[in-house]
Subunit: 200 residues, 2 copies
């Protein structure tokens, strides 16, 4: 499928708008507004969506591909999250703070995204109040996910971390290089490989 075909779903709206409408129903006017205020974006594998110092102006809905967020500590990259299709990503730690981005957002595959300017979401909340319920549910869901990641990072047993991870992300292990997953789980690639071999 090429990006243009991905842009419209059977109901004539973008996959983003159709998705938001399933989270909590929104009016036709809100759907039209969101459709015309958001744009399709392709980004090649290994390219950066955001880098430290950038001003964060958009959310990104992943139509295709995998994005990870990481920080650099000296020479070391520390992956703090990995997201696939159907997720909305951005530099959430800086959301609404007006502080520049502190993390890297990088494509781990060729990605097709929909960019959602943060400013238009604010407009939507004012003009189409029903969109507040959509955002409430999405943030609740993402809050739970972030809480789970905060917990995962603190489990001392590498084995338990691995189990939690594959429960939540059954496909990622075969989709992206293990080094990113090892970094996310706070273990070496060798430890991750050893645990995988044991579990099979």
């Amino acid at each position: 499928m090429n990006p243009v075909e991905m842009w419209k779903t059977v109901d004539g709206y973008s996959p983003l708008v159709s998705f938001l409408n399933t989270v909590s129903p929104i009016s036709k006017e809100a759907m039209d507004f969101l459709d015309k205020s958001t744009t399709l974006l392709s980004i090649e594998k290994k390219k950066f969506l955001l880098k430290p110092g950038a001003v964060v102006t958009d959310f990104y809905f992943i139509i295709k591909g995998v994005i990870h967020g990481f920080i650099k500590e000296g020479d070391k990259q520390i992956t703090t999250w990995i997201n696939e299709e159907g997720e909305i990503v951005s530099s959430i730690r800086n959301l609404g703070t007006n502080k520049p981005c502190e993390e890297y957002l990088q494509a781990l595959e060729d990605c097709v995204l929909i960019a959602i300017p943060i400013a238009i979401t604010e407009e939507a909340f004012e003009v189409y109040p029903e969109t507040n319920a959509v955002a409430r549910r999405l943030w609740e869901d993402n809050y739970r996910g972030a809480e789970e990641r905060a917990y995962l990072g603190r489990i001392p047993s590498a084995e338990k971390k691995y189990k939690k991870f594959i429960e939540k992300n059954p496909n990622l292990m075969n989709r992206i290089p293990l080094k990113y997953i090892a970094s996310y789980l706070g273990m070496t690639v060798e430890t991750l490989c050893r645990i995988r071999a044991r579990q099979r």
Copy 2:
């Protein structure tokens, strides 16, 4: 101040309802509904608000005191969050999942809380649509906080972890036993003491 005095602020509403109204304005009807649907709760230092296996039915707004969430790994307690006055806590990892609680919520001081049944929040979202904007902002804020905790748990440098922590929680260090903060930061009490001494 005794709990009953804490219950009403100058506008005649509970501190919770007054707080929610500052997050995003809500109607008088919604304020009355929330006031009569929530209850004051005292819990002594060291007592548990939730334990693994419990059904999670409420959120808790902290009027006074400190609560932490932890998990047990063998003999070890791992603190995943610590919250003070003005925060809403619960077992967020299980929110909306119908799964029993997996963590301990424990008072680290004598606490006064307001219990908010999750069922009544759902009712409020339906009947008083303006409450969706309140929850959207609260979850956004909590999502950002959880993301920050997920990040904090993955910083390899103990010194940087400590700095991030005191930036965010300048008072907690003098308020609760260091062992909980060390656990939250994933370091030993000895390491935490050493870093503190160096920073002074």
